[in-house]
Symmetry: C2
Subunit: 397 residues, 2 copies
């Protein structure tokens, strides 16, 4: 298999075609799962004042003795502080989150007190914390959420607490999907006797959108230069053009010729992997283009291994070696050939880790198998025969 | 801590308030991540005909001998089959995915042939498979994708291949989020000196939407019956009303009183867990209501442990014990008290599994800590002291 690139080398070459897309300021409520493009910097402390962590009474530490009876001189509520000061022998009723009044340096929790009219008696002097959250204990002005970062739910809450109403995010990279082939009918149509349904573009669209891209599904391109040209025209403005099918060595391959006719600066990768025929990649003017195989499993696996990293790069996220997890092999495997094999598999938790079993049928046309898989068992080139119980590695899909 | 419910028991009681929402037929391109509500049944076989797995020549097995020279009598392309039959001594040029012509029962791959004008010579008789994908090898009429199922990208491709253009999905359950409190300002506003920013509802919204719900963020309800009443009125039509804050035992708790005034059939759970004050749950007429604590970390953890399972139930998904993963503890922990403790932690892969370290500060007001966490280390009630290297369990967040 000399002349074939490893998956890693092909991915590195392909990623060199990409750079981060532009940024946009987005309302916070719409920022979940999006990618922060500029550091978000707090301009205020949180909490903005010493705040009570409990419902109880704000007192002076010197008054903190079991049996001590204090005059209740007011109340401090969240949103409405007590404006006076706690003097010796006095207490202020206080609620969780409320500002601690001047003079007080402890909150006793209400369960440890007895209230009678305008006085409160401390039942016990509880050791330990003061039940006060100091100003700035969560964050201080200048504290930041560092970009790039994919925003998780807790990040949204933190941005809100920082009063960052419109964070600066990477815009969603736009990926145009062009399925090609005379044999394809769209779901909802009645396919002719020689036709099959177009499926790759639906799978890729869902995969790309879950990763933060916007996928534009274009009309199916037929196997004519005119139809392919029309599809490329419709892809104008996209950040990435992905073709599906037509990248093989067959005579019916027109995608390559048509793209070359439009000025494609072609890098064509022959990759030492299964599933996956040659991957086409290059630049159409300033726009990167990736040609994926037409077989559905190949298209989805190549989408995972090559297109998703490209989306991450466009989102400004660091390159991330796809995390490989160890697992215990359930059923023995034959020796692998010269190409890395990404086998459709099912991984299940077991005490202390994971067990995995590759499906018996691995043909790259079998969507029903891929749909049952939750993992790709990764076999390196020339991996020897594996016995049940061996340690192997897998990727989640 | 007698009288307190375990997390599991509180969750079971809470889930009894919920049932699956209705269904809707949705265009396939918009179905990614949604939940299939009715089995999707194939009405056609895939492939619909015996199809070539390779580019090459369709021949009869009896002609499969090294050196044999066959007359090429036509071509079968994907989408345009060869209408004749392959007779002894003949071959048909064929491309991947094309129908195999009558009479042929093997495809020889083109790399193993030599083509000269209208004849082709077989260079070698390759053993092994016929390179033919049999009709129905992927799926047959009547094969199904069983509901309920959250649709992964490969499922979308499979639905497309089955020609199911509008699968029947659960509609997205609508969750109304009501943040309460005089102390709250909305991001973008200038908070008063005693105010903090409203953050829980942004975090919850992102969490719920990632799980497949539609979150409606209502205006902040102030600590008056009128304001709370207005908020409940705005929540009309939601499948679930979630209030944030105001569920504590403090005098400023008006949420409970207002909801009771509107006919709330209250179940109030005191749960043996940290973080998390009492959880309020019940029914307002036919609409379930959950009252979450106001502290941001408590709200997010209770969202994860109680609201997400409710969303799953509304989506018709089976109850799923949150998957606990084993990990090696990095730094020793004190004995735990009588309540289960969900500690904000960082889990990182290591050879053979995961290692985890709980953050030193666990106060439920600390969003900056939650934002750095990727896991909750779960400590059962009365868990003894743990040493570095001990095996513990965690949940992903």
């Amino acid at each position: 298999m000399s002349g074939l690139l490893s998956v890693e080398e092909a991915r590195a070459r392909l990623l060199a075609l990409f750079s981060p897309v532009g940024t946009e300021s987005v309302p916070l409520a719409a920022a979940g799962g999006r990618v922060l493009a500029e550091d978000a910097v707090a301009t205020r402390p949180q909490p903005p004042f010493d705040a009570s962590a409990m419902d109880g009474y704000a007192i002076r530490e010197e008054d903190h003795r079991a049996g001590n009876r204090l005059a209740v001189i007011g109340a401090s509520a969240a949103g409405a502080r007590f404006e006076g000061a706690v003097r010796p022998g006095t207490a202020v009723r206080i609620f969780t989150g409320a500002p601690v009044p001047d003079g007080a340096d402890r909150v006793v929790i209400q369960e440890n007190t007895t209230r009678v009219e305008d006085s409160v008696t401390l039942d016990e002097a509880a050791p330990g914390g003061t039940n006060i959250r100091p100003a700035g204990g969560d964050f201080m002005p200048g504290d930041r959420i560092a970009a790039p970062r994919r925003l998780a739910p807790a990040d949204l809450a933190l941005l809100a607490a920082m009063n960052i109403a419109r964070p600066v995010l990477r815009r969603r990279p736009v990926v145009a999907l062009i399925a090609t082939g005379d044999e394809l009918a769209m779901p909802g149509e009645t396919p002719g006797p020689d036709q099959i349904l177009c499926s790759n573009n639906f799978g890729l669209k869902a995969m790309l959108e879950a990763a933060g891209a916007e996928a534009r599904m274009l009309p199916i391109a037929r196997d004519t230069p005119e139809s392919l040209t029309a599809a490329f025209d419709l892809a104008a403005g996209a950040d990435l053009v992905v073709t599906l099918g037509g990248a093989s060595v067959g005579e019916h391959d027109l995608v390559r010729a048509t793209a070359l006719g439009r000025g494609l600066d072609l890098s064509f990768y022959k990759i030492a992997m299964r599933p996956g025929k040659p991957l086409m990649a290059g630049r159409l003017g300033t726009t990167p283009m990736i040609g994926l195989p037409g077989n559905p499993v190949s298209a989805m696996v190549c989408g995972l291994l090559f297109v998703l990293p490209a989306v991450r790069r466009m989102l400004g996220l660091p390159e991330e070696a796809a995390l490989r997890f160890p697992a215990r092999l359930e059923a023995a495997l034959e020796p692998n050939g010269p190409r890395a094999h990404y086998m459709m598999s099912r991984a299940e938790p077991e005490p202390g880790g994971w067990r995995i079993e590759a499906f018996g049928r691995q043909d790259s046309s079998l969507l029903s198998v891929l749909s049952r898989a939750n993992a790709l068992l990764v076999r390196p080139p020339h991996d020897p025969a594996r016995a049940s119980g061996d340690r192997v590695e897998f990727l989640w899909i």
